[in-house]
Symmetry: C2
Subunit: 220 residues, 2 copies
């Protein structure tokens, strides 16, 4: 089983310190929600984000959405060979059942995430998505992978096809992909650092390279 972790993802509710910013207040009103109930989104809260530490990288639920759509609709997932997790900048972990059919529409996805932050699990009975407070280290401990790879711009350059073969040669590998637009993980992660290309890649491109080459190595 391949465990794919989108880590330090820029997915959070609007932080308290900017809840009274006009960009946030107007956005929440337009969506008929309270400011503390809406997901931070750099497209709409750009002006308010300038006041936050790491403001130039926060508020990117779109990255999580695209990574998850690619992962959940992959052949690897259809074959039952994949588990996907989202770990956020605030140390929440989202567990996602493999059979989850995520909303394709971004605005509906935002609504789902807002619901998840409020209720802890959605939909109520099926609990396809479940969120808990948990640091990355504890998530990894719980998975008990036989090896951990951390996708990193400064990691060892390995061709994607070879990396797929390495992953396929393990029983229970975990791969950590940063769920942020640029920069580095803010905390150290134990694992082998790997880079797939000489230039930075978007998180969802890394996800695609990993999953498709993993499948190919397994002869799928």
């Amino acid at each position: 089983m391949l465990h794919l972790i989108i880590a330090e993802a820029e997915l959070e509710l609007v932080p308290e310190s900017i809840r009274d910013h006009p960009a946030v207040v107007n956005y929440a009103r337009r969506r008929k929600k309270k400011p503390e109930e809406v997901i931070l989104d750099s497209t709409y809260h750009h002006a308010a984000l300038k006041k936050l530490p790491d403001g130039d990288r926060r508020g990117r639920p779109d990255i999580v959405h695209i990574c998850l759509l690619n992962a959940l609709e992959s052949i690897a997932n259809k074959e039952g060979l994949l588990r996907v997790y989202v770990h956020t900048r605030n140390d929440e972990v989202i567990h996602i059942k493999p059979e989850t059919r995520l909303p394709r529409n971004y605005n509906r996805f935002l609504g789902l995430m807002e619901s998840l932050f409020k209720k802890g699990a959605v939909p109520e009975e099926l609990e396809l998505l479940r969120m808990e407070k948990k640091p990355l280290e504890s998530l990894l401990e719980g998975i008990t992978p036989d090896t951990v790879f951390v996708m990193h711009e400064e990691g060892e350059l390995i061709r994607p096809r070879s990396f797929g073969e390495i992953l396929a040669s393990h029983k229970n590998p975990a791969v950590v992909v940063g769920g942020f637009p640029h920069g580095d993980f803010t905390r150290p992660i134990e694992g082998k650092k790997v880079s797939l290309y000489r230039e930075p890649l978007m998180a969802w491109t890394v996800v695609n390279e990993i999953l498709v080459n993993f499948e190919a190595a397994l002869g799928l």
Copy 2:
């Protein structure tokens, strides 16, 4: 050069016959646009879509968005080995320059598409995206590919890795992927029908399988 065509994509302005439907009128008002200026979107125009032929598959700009984000951010594109086109149900073709950095945010992408339908090219000077009236056959004729593959549920089952190798063995192959959520192409397309999996796959999954396996076959 690999030519990737998202064909018969469900991308269109709201058709005239439903422009006075309340679901459309309210949506356009909310977005401060005229009903004839907004892109048809099944998430918001569901009630109106029921009145249209093929209403159960139309209004899916999200599929185009995700396919394009994956294709434009792929290693194949960064290496200059890819051209991407969108062909719509109404026989428009969108030419996309490889260096285009598409909006990651879905709502901004919709705005860009609305602008493209209005102006024919965006942004004005760079013309990163350019739209023209053109059937799929003429697009293919213009590309002069040495072979055309049509991704199709009933096509010959070829493993994705092998298909990547077939593509890499051609100088100028074209691959046609349906830009609709389910069902078949409405018009026949000349080319070899290929299927990558025993079950239907989402359009963006097919795009990912094609591009990553094409890159791998080239040793990237």
